[in-house]
């Protein structure tokens, strides 16, 4: 698999580690426990286009939001997580 890091260019997936789905949003500290349980554990686990968090661990060390097809393994889009989040 090749992920095109927005900073470093296309790299093999051995340079990255994957955390998992990018969509779950961390609840506020006082949100009900059920929300926290869901955030940490429950996954949509899509077949098809899936947004994920990848870390360019052996490169620029950016956390990336990678949109990838879990069925074809095609990489659809890659953005730096920090920029993705900071965008207004």
């Amino acid at each position: 698999m090749r992920i095109t890091c927005p900073h470093c260019g296309p790299r093999g997936n051995d340079e990255f580690t994957v955390l998992g789905a990018a969509d779950p949003v961390r609840p506020g500290p006082d949100a009900p426990l059920a929300g926290w349980v869901a955030y940490v554990h429950e996954r949509e686990n899509l077949r098809g286009s899936h947004r994920e968090l990848w870390h360019h661990q052996a490169g620029c060390r950016a956390w990336l939001v990678v949109e990838r097809d879990t069925w074809t393994h095609a990489v659809i889009a890659v953005r730096a997580a920090r920029e993705a989040e900071q965008a207004p």
Binding site: H7, C8, G9, E15, A58, A62
Partner: protein, 203 residues
Amino acid sequence: MADLAMRTPLAGHLKAGRHGRAEGTPGLHVTERGHLATAAIALRAGQQAALAAALRDGFGLDLPQRPGCAGSGAVELVWNGPGQWLALDSAREGIGRFGFARELAARLGAAASVTDLTGARAVLRLTGPAVRDTLAKLLPVDLHESVFPAGAATLTLASHIGVTLWRPDEAAWDIACYRSFGESLAHAVVEAAAEFGCEVTAG
């Protein structure tokens, strides 16, 4: 006050002399850049322009915005991730090197955080006709002139070791890793160059 001898990261790990194929001119020359003053520069929020200006004014350096390197006199900058650079100074010596980070910090002020990394990296200088073929055995990045010209830099894995590779000029290729990995990287480089013949000179 005690007088402490310094030891470069690869001292004892890089044997000077000819390795691998003994006939003909060596394909690869290796030396350690073991005496660099080294510092990390971390950009502070919103200070991009200020940092670039301070480096230009203070050192005559063009801050690489993407993977790349820049040099001016004895000072070099190598991109080391978004908002992070390695700064190297080859002019200072011995404990004088610890002044480099201090000077940087003073000149960059609020534009960046500076951390002294002197001695934290093992750095090899590679030259010779077989540099590309040697490096191809170690790392997956395209090193073709059209893609990786002088002034280019990259962060990647070489033989399972995280490295920074940059081309300060046409002839030279510098590769750095964490100091602790130095022996393994040096071994991998010399081994990969064996078929071309490899000449190691003391740095």
